[in-house]
């Protein structure tokens, strides 16, 4: 081998490339537990419990599978918790304590920066009730809006390009008390085990 140093450097680069490819780039975000729950080994209700998570426990949250988030605790235990039991809304003191609680967790710096308390500018063309009432009727704008309409073929092509597959799913039972059920099938009447509704 003429240049063993160059060869080993190449191998190192390949290994680095492999490692970076193998690790999914999913940013962990700081979050809190909103009510007592269990950290589970799998994203399903019947999975084994790893530990209990008490309300207001601070955690890091990674990927989501349906209604479950992958959660890392300050003890570096990792498991799944329900989306319902998690909030990304942290108080200032909770955000501050994240750094000390999760020292050594590599993504923490990015995660802490990912917390957003407010990114909304105020006072710019606000849409409160008063401004809406005072607004002129903009029929030209309405025509412009309607000129952007998509035809069926374009919409289908868009969905096809993304691999979106149509599915047959019944609408749930209405929560409201209308006698008019629109175009939705009333599945609950057909199936006593239908899971929707009260």
């Amino acid at each position: 081998m003429k240049n063993p140093f160059r060869f080993s450097a190449l191998i190192s680069l390949l290994i680095l490339a492999t490692v970076s490819y193998a690790e999914p780039d999913i940013q962990q975000r700081p979050a809190r537990i909103v009510k007592d729950t269990n950290l589970l080994a799998e994203p399903q209700r019947k999975a084994a419990s790893i530990t209990k998570l008490e309300q207001e426990t601070l955690v890091l949250v990674g990927e989501r599978k349906r209604g479950w988030y992958l959660v890392t605790t300050q003890n570096k235990q990792q498991g799944w918790a329900r989306l319902l039991d998690i909030s990304f809304s942290l108080k200032e003191d909770q955000r501050s304590s994240m750094k000390s609680l999760f020292a050594g967790v590599s993504d923490l710096a990015n995660a802490a920066q990912g917390q957003s308390t407010s990114a909304i500018s105020t006072g710019v063309r606000g849409l409160d009730k008063t401004s809406i009432l005072k607004a002129p009727v903009d029929n030209k704008g309405l025509s412009t809006m309607e000129s952007y309409a998509s035809d069926r073929q374009t919409a289908k092509a868009h969905a096809q390009a993304l691999g979106l597959a149509q599915r047959s799913i019944d609408f749930p039972q209405k929560l409201t008390t209308s006698g008019d059920d629109g175009d939705a099938p009333s599945s609950s009447e057909e199936d006593p085990d239908y899971p929707f509704g009260e």
């Binding site: 319902l84 990304f88 990114a119 909304i120 809406i132 005072k134 969905a159 799913i169 008019d180």
Partner: protein, 297 residues
């Protein structure tokens, strides 16, 4: 949020028809939760009293063409309040996503979608099928699934005629009471009296009637998104993102005043969405969505 335009009938009609039209106008105003100019309410409330007893008739008597006319008028006012966001490419993209959702429904509604040039975080719909999201809300989306989730939510408000359901709701007694109060002051045509009547009922409407409609729109919207191949959980992602924002921000206030809190919506709909049999989408390299986000900057 469902909104409806306040339109005055120009074509001469019988007195009964005229009162019916005015009653419709008042009802639509209540849907929006606003006070109307005095001129809109030269009502014969003795006749109206009978009409109000069957509010459904007022709406069911409106054909799709009339609903479109009313809704489009309000859409034009909403555009007048904010303006359309100037990127035609962004607008066309939103219409493609919306139209794909519409193809999952059997409905005679002609749907139109737009991004409003407002930094507020909100979305709107009119009975005519005009659906709006603000630029401020669209900037929060991290996937096309989330965009589809919000469009689907608004479409369900229209599809399920939530304004009609709300009027039939027990809690809408404030509306009937407001009309009764007004009827007793039939000779008092002052704007103050009319405004008081409308405001009192609209307060009830805004504070007490919206929650179930919003929950239903979240849940049905998740199904609609799932039908179109999108992730039904995306609406919950949007709620979690909204919860993360400073709830005191001025740009959130109209939405918060007319909707349950994001946490309430997550709690109300999580279990229902858990039962939707739809795979989580994993759309990668969605160049159109990435371009859309760039266009919103």
């Amino acid at each position: 949020m469902v909104m409806h335009h306040l339109a005055a009938k120009k074509t001469p009609t019988t007195h009964l028809e005229s009162d019916m039209k005015k009653a419709q106008t008042l009802l639509l105003a209540l849907c929006l939760g606003i006070a109307l100019p005095t001129m809109a309410f030269n009502l014969n409330l003795n006749k109206l009293g009978k009409l109000v007893s069957s509010t459904k008739d007022m709406f069911s008597g409106m054909d799709r063409e009339k609903q479109n006319e009313l809704g489009a008028s309000y859409a034009a006012r909403l555009i007048g309040a904010s303006g359309l966001y100037e990127s035609a490419e962004a607008q066309r993209y939103v219409n493609q996503v919306g139209q794909w959702l519409a193809l999952q429904l059997e409905s005679d509604i002609t749907w139109h979608f737009a991004v409003l040039d407002s930094s507020d975080v909100n979305a709107f719909s009119t009975i005519s099928g005009h659906i709006f999201i603000t630029k401020g809300l669209a900037q929060k989306f991290t996937s096309e699934d989330q965009l589809a989730a919000v469009l689907a939510h608004e479409m369900i408000h229209v599809l399920n005629a939530h304004h009609l359901d709300a009027i039939k709701n027990e809690k809408s007694k404030g509306f009937a009471q407001a009309l009764a109060d007004y009827a007793q002051k039939e000779n008092d045509q002052s704007s103050a009296t009319i405004s008081a009547a409308v405001n009192s009922s609209s307060e009830v409407w805004v504070k007490g009637l919206d929650k179930e409609f919003e929950y239903e729109a979240d849940q049905w919207g998740a199904v609609l998104a799932g039908r179109a191949g999108y992730d039904p959980y995306a609406i919950l992602e949007v709620m979690m993102a909204l919860e993360q924002l400073d709830q005191r921000d001025q740009g959130l206030q109209l939405m918060l005043a007319t909707h349950p809190t994001p946490r309430q919506r997550i709690e109300a709909s999580s279990k229902v969405i858990d039962t939707i049999e739809a795979n989580q989408t994993n759309i990668k390299n969605n160049a159109k969505f990435e371009a859309f986000k760039q266009q919103l900057k």
